[in-house]
């Protein structure tokens, strides 16, 4: 297949083969010790378990919806492990792995999907902004935030930078192109991390774009690179370099993680209507967890006890998440009015008071024995 369509597969940066072999890359050295490698494996397994449990919880009616990250664990964990505490990440709505790395409680991730909150965590505390549903909107927020980092003089070797996550579908949005342009013109310290999971709901890449997506960057005047998105080492090493270059004043970079969404777009979706089973089988052979496991085994970095312990930890995590999900309290009805405005709003105050009286009238009716 020719290289000049989005569907083509030009050479991608890969440090870890599907068989678990390590490859040296001249531009992206892998600086990582055995402990961190085991840590990455643990991350991959645990975040996959969070995802599996969430899908099950949705099937049981505990969540209204869930967007599965199955298959994209390496892209998310590798890139997020490349961040420093002072960096800020802007997610779309599938970045459960990034949230995991940024220390967001797994139960907090469920809030929006269960309908008990619109967010669920404090962005400042975790350096992770809230999930963004409207495709591509967050690319501009990240760029503006990075312009703020610049103005704060917070860049430099030990400074901070910004990363924004979005999908292949988002590259068709005007906002994403505007973000690329604003970032380039301002030389803003922002890394665009594109997870090309091959499907924007039912639309394949060739229905989205005529050229490989990482090449978009060149037209805006900054580098773009395609990496093996199922290779946690490539994701880590390339993101580390991109973030460092950004914080040192070399401007934005686009990383296209070439990966695959092994599940449905969301729990409402039925991928059997638009893709063939053979494709899924092909990508299963590239599974991010299996290849890191193979590497650890080949290199003697972990024995059977290690893998069993991680599996046990995943079981405990799953159990905890199930009970925590069910015990997430419903919000108070008057929460509808909270935090719409920072400042007093007489119109809203009046509506809240009227609704509070209306609700109270039921309690009074109950006290009187009802009608």
């Amino acid at each position: 297949m020719s290289d000049n369509t989005a569907h083509g597969e030009p050479e991608l940066v890969q440090l870890l083969t599907p068989d678990g072999e390590l490859i040296d890359h001249p531009d992206y050295p892998l600086e990582i010790g055995p402990e961190d490698i085991r840590g990455l494996y643990r991350d991959l397994v645990l975040v996959r378990r969070v995802d599996t449990e969430a899908v099950a919880l949705q099937r049981q009616g505990e969540l209204g919806l869930w967007a599965s990250l199955l298959g994209q664990e390496a892209a998310q964990i590798g890139s997020a492990r490349a961040l420093r505490p002072q960096d800020t990440a802007f997610p779309s709505y599938r970045e459960h792995g990034v949230a995991w790395v940024r220390g967001v409680e797994p139960k907090a991730l469920l809030g929006m999907w269960r309908g008990v909150s619109n967010g669920g965590w404090d962005p400042a505390q975790h350096g992770l902004q809230l999930y963004t549903i409207v495709i591509g909107s967050q690319t501009l927020h990240a760029t503006g935030y990075a312009m703020g980092v610049q103005r704060d003089g917070a860049t430099g070797e030990d400074g901070s930078a910004v990363i924004v996550y979005f999908g292949d579908g988002a590259t068709s949005q005007g906002d994403t192109s505007e973000a690329f342009n604003f970032a380039a013109v301002n030389n803003a310290p922002v890394v665009f991390f594109l997870q090309n999971n091959q499907w924007a709901i039912s639309e394949p890449p060739e229905r989205q774009a005529r050229v490989p997506l990482y090449r978009r960057a060149a037209g805006f005047g900054f580098p773009g690179v395609r990496i093996d998105g199922n290779d946690v080492f490539a994701s880590l090493a390339v993101t580390r370099k991109a973030m460092q270059q950004a914080r040192e004043g070399q401007g934005p970079m686009l990383i296209e993680a070439f990966t695959y969404r092994m599940g449905a777009h969301t729990t409402n979706d039925d991928p059997t209507r638009y893709r063939v089973a053979a494709e899924l089988e092909e990508w299963k052979a590239k599974d991010p967890i299996l290849r890191l496991r193979a590497h650890i085994q080949q290199q003697g970095l972990g024995d059977d006890d290690f893998f069993t312990e991680v599996e046990n930890e995943a079981d405990r995590l799953g159990e905890r998440l199930r009970s925590e999900c069910r015990s997430l309290p419903d919000p108070d009805p008057l929460d509808i009015f909270h935090e719409v405005y920072a400042e007093p709003n007489t119109q809203l105050d009046l509506q809240r008071a009227e609704f509070a009286d209306y609700l109270a009238s039921f309690e009074d009716a109950g006290a009187e024995g009802g009608r």
């Binding site: 909150s117 404090d122 909107s137 927020h141 760029t143 704060d152 505007e178 400042e343 119109q347």
Partner: protein, 326 residues
């Protein structure tokens, strides 16, 4: 010190004072730098505060509002200039789904104190998309505050109030009134200024209330002056969202009649909302139905027809007459 300023210069002076007071205040938009904006409202700010604080942006309205949100999340207070009302629409997604919702989405953890300055309204003989009154779209969006000014004194103070507000504020500037002058006491304490959310009785009267905002306040005042048969009270709404109903209701209870005028099309407009609300709250005080005098439900016409489209003194007085036939 009292200075005689146009509305445009008053906004400029207000922006300057806000930028001096708070280094986090930024001005951004298309051509706001060396040119000083197409209406020169940001004149000289680029020279005095530098390109990092007065940012000439690419020509992309969604990009302007979207990056302003990011800057606000980082602790800045961006004031975005949208060059003309009709050019705002590419930024609707960022404004409605993002800017307006950040506080609510984060349960109060996030503030996005962004100001969107939009020169609006007709009457300047412009080509299409340069004369629109889109305020109802914004007023319908929870999370945004929507204000407009009718004189230089309000222009000077309200732009500063909009910038210090923790909420996102849409600041509509009546472009055909940019050159109207008034004396502004620029040494006065900010505390002496009328709060941004308050309506103002611009002219007291006893027989009917004429409600207007932005560019129509001047026309309403002219109509009140011209009507020698009735004593018309003119209320300048100033804040379109939230509406200061207390002031409007107080006036209507005294006069018993309400005529609302705005440049925007009548259907689905701000006037209809206020009429419904006043009918509910002041039903027994009303001597007549609430009358609306606005534009037709058509696109803004070519400029040789705009004098027929925009409510003028005679159409307002016709509305007043209708209120007195009951």
């Amino acid at each position: 010190m009292s200075v005689n300023l146009t509305i445009g210069k008053a906004i400029n002076a207000g922006l300057r004072r806000a930028m001096e007071a708070d280094p986090k205040v930024l001005v951004m938009g298309e051509d706001v730098g060396r040119l000083g904006g197409v209406f020169r409202v940001t004149d000289q700010l680029h020279k005095d505060f530098g390109a990092d604080r007065v940012i000439d942006t690419p020509l992309a309205e969604s990009g302007i509002v979207g990056t302003a949100i990011g800057l606000a999340l980082r602790g800045y207070r961006p004031v975005c200039e949208i060059q003309f009302d009709g050019f705002f629409f590419p930024a609707t997604n960022q404004s409605f789904t993002q800017l307006a919702k950040m506080r609510r989405r984060s349960a109060g953890a996030l503030s996005v104190p962004v100001v969107l300055r939009i020169p609006y309204g007709g009457g300047i003989g412009a080509v299409e998309h340069h004369s629109e009154s889109p305020e109802a779209y914004f007023a319908h969006t929870a999370g945004l505050r929507v204000v407009t000014v009718a004189n230089a004194v309000d222009a000077y103070w309200m732009i500063q109030q909009a910038i210090t507000s923790q909420d996102p504020v849409v600041f509509f500037e009546p472009k055909r009134r940019y050159y109207d002058k008034a004396d502004v006491d620029t040494d006065a304490s900010p505390d002496s200024a009328l709060p941004m959310g308050a309506a103002r009785v611009a002219r007291p009267g006893t027989d009917a209330t004429l409600l207007a905002y932005g560019p129509m306040v001047k026309t309403a005042l002219q109509a009140a002056e011209a009507d020698t048969d009735h004593s018309l009270e003119v209320v300048d709404l100033r804040s379109i969202s939230p509406v200061d109903y207390a002031t409007v209701e107080e006036s209507v209870r005294r006069t018993g009649r309400l005529v609302i005028t705005h440049e925007a099309p009548v259907s689905g407009g701000v006037g209809g909302e206020i009429a419904a609300r006043i009918t509910e709250s002041c039903f027994y005080h009303l001597e007549a139905p609430v009358i609306r005098v606005g534009a037709f439900d058509t696109p803004y016409p070519q400029s040789r027809l705009e004098e027929h489209y925009l409510p003028d003194l005679d159409r307002i007085l016709d509305g007043v007459d209708r209120a007195f036939t009951y």
